[in-house]
């Protein structure tokens, strides 16, 4: 780690200020109810865990966290699993219409959810999938799939062909090469694609809000948007719930930053 110069410190301080809405929410989540409304002092007299206690014991958040985590993991698995196979074909095998398929993938990443939500809703209802995990796994997974295919095609192309040719000389067939040579080498790229697919599903609101009806499948953003207040809005509890909803994104920007940045750059630059 390099030493922090005064100038660097100043930039860091400015970025802390930029992130302050989040820190304020963190502080609100631990501020006693009596000091929330009206706001009379910047710092609370003491910190409390009572809002987290309420969220864990009396709200739908614990169930929503389980739903969100399961749905996000499985839709990521769907997108990356199918995406990796398709990307290998597009990157390495003779595919007629490859250009058209890749162009269609870019176009599909631009699809607005609001345009496909009504047919998808009718489709899910016809399949009897309303208010199930599967509806959201399919909707989120397929929505992330074009970007995943696009990213992984690019990443696989960067792998030197010589390695695959060497494997072929050693007698490995295509599928063995894919399994033992390409996939391991594409792992960092797959991690990037998986992180983006996971974040999309974790943060997704419109599909989840439209396709769910009960706590059986309600995700964290939906639970947060519908957070109940009996007589007044429970701002402290909402702050605690939003902190919980923020944990995976925080883990990703802190712990998996390299992969996230790589995925974002490759996804946006579309070279």
């Amino acid at each position: 780690m390099r030493p922090i110069r005064p100038r660097d410190g100043l930039v860091l301080l400015a970025l802390v200020a930029y992130a302050s809405p989040f820190f304020w929410q963190a502080l609100t989540s631990m501020r006693p109810d009596a000091e929330l409304l009206p706001l009379t002092r910047l710092l609370p007299s003491h910190l409390t865990w009572v809002h987290y206690d309420v969220v864990f014991r009396q709200s739908l958040m614990p169930r929503a966290l389980v739903n969100s985590l399961g749905i996000a993991l499985l839709s990521t698995l769907l997108a990356v699993g199918l995406g990796a196979l398709a990307a290998y074909a597009l990157a390495r095998l003779p595919v007629r219409g490859r250009g058209v398929i890749l162009l269609a993938m870019i176009a599909a990443t631009a699809f607005p959810q609001i345009a496909t939500v009504s047919p998808l809703y009718l489709l899910m209802r016809a399949l009897g999938l309303r208010d199930t995990w599967l509806a959201l796994i399919l909707a989120n997974g397929s929505f992330a799939l074009p970007l995943v295919i696009w990213l992984l095609t690019g990443f696989i192309r960067e792998i030197p062909r010589a390695l695959e040719e060497a494997a072929a000389v050693d007698g490995a067939d295509r599928l063995a090469t894919l399994r033992w040579v390409v996939l391991p080498l594409a792992a960092p790229g797959m991690a990037s694609a998986a992180l983006l697919a996971f974040l999309f599903s974790w943060n997704e609101f419109l599909f989840a809000y439209s396709f769910t009806a009960s706590e059986a499948s309600r995700t964290v953003p939906v639970a947060l948007a519908l957070f109940p207040g009996v007589f007044e809005v429970p701002w402290g509890d909402i702050a605690a719930a939003s902190l919980l909803a923020s944990l995976p994104p925080i883990l990703i920007v802190v712990g998996f930053q390299r992969y996230l940045v790589r995925g974002l750059l490759a996804g946006a630059l579309r070279e």
Binding site: R2, I4, L15, Q25, P112, L206
Partner: protein, 285 residues
């Protein structure tokens, strides 16, 4: 197995899923937009272009189009300016880069429903930090039609600027430092170095990024739906919120789909523009 057959075998699961859950709905919505479809009343009949004819004279639609337009232009412009400034500041960063990026990207990675809830609380007339910092005012940021849209735009700018900053920053890192040193020797520093070196090199990326952000701003839904719900008095009701309301609150599946199709068309228009810019840049490179 031949490579050609294997290729289709590997591609077919993905294409099957995309065909069923992306392409088919995208075509179906065009069909739905041509129907009267109100399930609660058992209404289901052909409408032709009547929904679109109605939209052409629907003041609520034009208001929503205006909101989407203002939201898109203002937030994308602000995100461009602020994102570039942050990128330039980050370029000189040597220590604490990871921390800096984590602080920056946090806003981008949060669920937009969380962002909406955070800003709802920041803007609260009596409990919000904004009024507190303004010396205890009681401005109703989200309840006043004059302030609601700007407040909403600010929340979206906070959320999306990191994306612009990151892409510009990545481009700036590829500029060799000797370029700036040589400029300094020639007496060009500060603003001149920016206009002569930084700007021409970062401009293509900035343009692509902003087109990309434009797509997202036209599609934006969560933040206005949760933060203001389109209110007050429709002052923040975008096309997406109007479409959602028609689809799931008044249950006019056909009419709501027609608004969705308009959003679809707008987005595709920008996407075509985007592909052209990329194509031109590749031709120039």
């Amino acid at each position: 197995m031949s490579d050609r057959r294997l290729a289709w075998l590997l591609l077919s699961p993905a294409l099957l899923v995309l065909g069923t859950l992306t392409v088919y709905p995208a075509l179906w919505v065009l069909w739905l937009a041509l129907q009267y479809r109100i399930p609660v009343f058992g209404i289901s009949r052909w409408a032709g272009l009547e929904h679109f004819a109605f939209l052409a004279v629907d003041t609520r639609f034009w208001n929503a189009a205006w909101v989407t337009g203002v939201f898109t232009v203002a937030s994308v412009a602000l995100e461009g300016a602020l994102g570039l400034a942050i990128a330039v500041a980050l370029r000189g960063q040597r220590g604490g880069r990871r921390t800096a990026l984590a602080l920056l990207l946090l806003a981008w990675a949060l669920p937009s429903v969380v962002t909406a809830k955070m800003f709802e609380w920041l803007y609260h007339p009596a409990g919000g930090l904004v009024n507190f910092l303004l010396g205890g005012r009681a401005i109703n940021w989200l309840g006043d039609p004059a302030f609601a849209l700007p407040s909403l735009i600010l929340a979206d700018v906070w959320r999306a600027t990191p994306f612009v900053a990151l892409l510009c920053y990545a481009r700036l890192l590829t500029i060799p430092p000797d370029l700036y040193e040589a400029a300094e020797v020639d007496g060009a520093a500060g603003l001149q170095a920016f206009t002569r070196i930084t700007w021409p090199l970062v401009r293509p990326i900035l343009l692509v990024t902003l087109l990309f952000r434009t797509l997202d701003a036209i599609r934006a839904f969560d933040i206005m739906f949760v933060l203001t719900g389109g209110g007050p008095a429709g002052s923040t009701e975008s096309l997406t919120v109007y479409a959602y309301r028609a689809l799931f609150q008044t249950l006019q599946i056909g009419f709501g789909s027609a608004i969705g199709v308009v959003v679809f068309a707008l987005v595709m228009l920008v996407a075509v523009l985007y592909l052209r810019v990329i194509g031109r840049q590749e031709a120039a490179a």
